[in-house]
């Protein structure tokens, strides 16, 4: 069974600074997708970014980028130029061909003005 570990229950960052959220996973599969989701307070969970396991290149979406290290089974999320609206709980997720997803426990990000 796959496991996803987010070792930082809480993180904080100053507005306009950069923060990195950690995620590691364990799997014996070679083909899978990894996702970061954002859940703002009292709002719906939405996709931030996703990474295909067979792609070496790290995914980027505007201020969000990942550092994907397949051999190390690590998938961290970097948020640049942090904004107040980035405050949320962030979940790392693994999804395989079985269609099921495994989520980490989440990291609560606080953005300080």
């Amino acid at each position: 069974a796959q496991t996803v570990t987010q070792s930082q229950p809480e993180m904080s960052v100053q507005e306009a600074e950069t923060v990195t959220l950690s995620c590691t996973y364990d799997t014996s599969e070679s083909d899978y997708y990894l996702f970061w989701y954002k859940q703002p307070p009292s709002r719906q969970m939405i996709l931030v970014i996703r990474q295909e396991a067979y792609k070496q290149q790290n995914a980027t979406e505007n201020r969000f980028s990942v550092n994907f290290q397949k051999a190390a089974k690590s998938f961290s999320l970097k948020i640049s130029d942090s904004q107040l609206g980035d405050a949320a709980m962030y979940f790392c997720a693994y999804r395989s061909f079985t269609r099921k997803s495994t989520f980490g426990d989440g990291t609560t990000l606080t953005v300080k003005p």
Binding site: F35, Q44, M45, F91, S96, R99, K100, F103, G106
Partner: protein, 113 residues
Amino acid sequence: DVKVTQSSRYLVKRTGEKVFLECVQDMDHENMFWYRQDPGLGLRLIYFSYDVKMKEKGDIPEGYSVSREKKERFSLILESASTNQTSMYLCASSPDSYQETQYFGPGTRLLVL
């Protein structure tokens, strides 16, 4: 825009009651999921369905059942609610590919007294 709606945002039930949580998606997605979200435990998959009348158990199916009679609707049933089922319940849907993101509903916060 994909829309996933859940029948209630907040629900209060008594121990032993039968509880129905409904989820509807409007994007003709094949896959639908029910998760429960508890602090420090992330999202845990209860059941998912990859087609009408098809279902698969997730990681924590005990005490729950599901029904999918129509493609757009996926119901979670608590046959006899217990206090340890007090939680946030999230529904999600996705196209039938593990490459695709899941789209989440707003959640139902269930309190069982």
